[in-house]
């Protein structure tokens, strides 16, 4: 009678987090913050993984999270590199300012 909170709760929580992340990426103009929103989405995925791993009692889910973290780290390095290389040139540039290419 161990009443662990059933994974569905976690999944719903993750879904909300994911949605918030996506929303943030769409509304924020600061590239750094947009990037943070991506991180939010990744975390949502992580949460989902773990919850589902618990649900089906399968460790692979947790392993997946491990990899995702690595990916996140690498992405941060590259992403910040790009952002830096741009913002160094154009301080305070927002995502909307970078719209030379269109049509």
């Amino acid at each position: 009678m161990i009443a662990v909170i059933e994974p569905t709760w976690y999944l719903l929580l993750a879904a909300m987090l994911f949605g918030l992340g996506a929303f943030g990426l769409m509304v924020r103009r600061n590239p750094l913050i947009m990037f943070m929103c991506v991180e939010l989405m990744l975390n949502a995925a992580n949460l989902t993984f773990v919850a589902l791993a618990t649900r089906s009692g399968d460790i692979n889910g947790q392993t997946a999270v491990f990899f995702v973290m690595v990916v996140a780290a690498a992405e941060v390095v590259v992403g910040l590199g790009i952002i830096v290389s741009i913002l160094r040139r154009r301080p305070g540039a927002t995502a909307d300012d970078l719209a030379e290419l269109k049509g």
């Binding site: 909170i5 569905t8 600061n30 913050i33 491990f66 690595v70 913002l87 160094r88």
Partner: protein, 192 residues
Amino acid sequence: MSDATFLEYVVFFSAAVMILGGAIGVITMKNPVHAALGLVSTLFGVAVQFVAMDAQFLAAVQVIVYSGAIVVLFLFVIMLLGVDESMDLSIEPIPIQRPLAAVMAVGLVGLVAAAIIRARDALVINPGDGIASATDAGDNDANIRQLANNLYGDHVFAFQLTSVLLIVAVAGTVLLTRKWPKDAPETESSDS
């Protein structure tokens, strides 16, 4: 252990509040630094949930890697670029952007949630052979060992692949940050 369950509820909801609150903070904070702090809170919340789900090792890594490394990196960049001045969020250059985004986000969450709730009592296809928890069976390393076995067992290739990923990161940053000679005059769109 009904209180335990109660405790678990407390944990869950407080963590949930941390997570969502932090996320909302990321979205709404004018100042990037504050946003980063919001991110931190989210990450901590997630870590807490990990613990609650017997993923102690992941929780640790979460705190170390994310909160420890990544967010610091963010803050570092913010400071480096000095973009920590507030940005006015009341203006939205693209008219329909916000309503559209809201609708989409809600739709997204709604649909996924619908799927989740519907799949709630769907029985699990090929269940795994259980997750070792550090709390029970008196083996404090159970989760770590199981994770390690799995990691260096079935996923050893993926594990190796992460190293390649890091190589990319390294090479990429080198390429991006390597000082260009006669880089001084910033020619806008000299190319194309």
